[in-house]
């Protein structure tokens, strides 16, 4: 049987199902409250890291959970092209960009790099988010 690493590596570059969301003013407000940022700019515009609230990055790799006992987040990169505002319809599409294994001090670690692209109702890419998820 192919290992988790081999099975995930076969999926590199393959897009998951697109997730379509309307950016709701109430969601922007709850997100700004949750991060503790009182800037009134975020009543109508998305703060820099909001895109991750529109699509869970690791949603299409549940088999990774057969590796190790837990997830860690290794890092994130946000590329923000255009502002995202309340009322926008955003389509998020996630791909696995890379999968690799490393040996650490407390055993092996599996790294899965996800990349999500966010496109608005006008067909413009508003941003990209890269995340390095680690199974340990």
């Amino acid at each position: 049987m192919a290992s988790v690493l081999e099975r995930l590596r076969e999926r590199i570059g393959v897009a998951g199902e697109p997730v379509v969301s309307i950016v709701e003013a109430g969601h922007l407000r709850r997100f700004a409250e949750a991060i503790g940022d009182p800037n009134p700019r975020w009543l109508t515009e998305a703060p820099p890291t909001f895109l991750v609230a529109l699509a869970p990055a690791s949603y299409h790799a549940p088999e990774a959970e057969q590796y190790g006992r837990g997830w860690l987040n290794g890092g994130n990169r946000f590329e923000l092209v255009e502002p995202v505002r309340a009322g926008d319809e955003i389509t998020a599409t996630t791909r696995i960009a890379d999968v690799y294994e490393k040996s650490g001090s407390s055993g092996n670690l599996l790294f899965i790099v996800f990349e999500t692209e966010y496109v608005n109702q006008h067909g413009a890419t508003v941003g990209r988010v890269r995340g390095t998820a680690i199974r340990r």
Binding site: I35, R41, P48, A53, W71, G75, N76, L80, P83
Partner: protein, 130 residues
Amino acid sequence: MRSVRAGDEIPALVKHPTTRQLVQYAGAQGDFYEIHYDQDYARSVGLPGVILHGLLKAAFLGQLVTDWVGDEGDVRALEVSYRGVDQPGRAYTCGGRVTAVDGNMVELEVWGQNEAGERTTVGSAVVEMR
């Protein structure tokens, strides 16, 4: 436009995350991984207790930069690496420094540190001034 030079420090942002805030953030982001609100579960996977979402720390660094830039610019990039775990109930201090200015593009080094002064989150940001 304000004068921005490489080497400028930007004002620090001190956050006081609580377990309540982790629950709020879990709901707002839609990340219900138990290590952020279930103490027993967090300990069962070898953590000292519940820990902050990495993405919450990224959001703090986003606020650090947007508090500094105000309405005079837009964040174009934010990159963060998580080097250690952080627990609620402890102050988390975000800091940054301008590393380069090229026309209206400003690059910054940003970091978040725990009460012991360890930088558990390190990264960079790019701001486009209007």
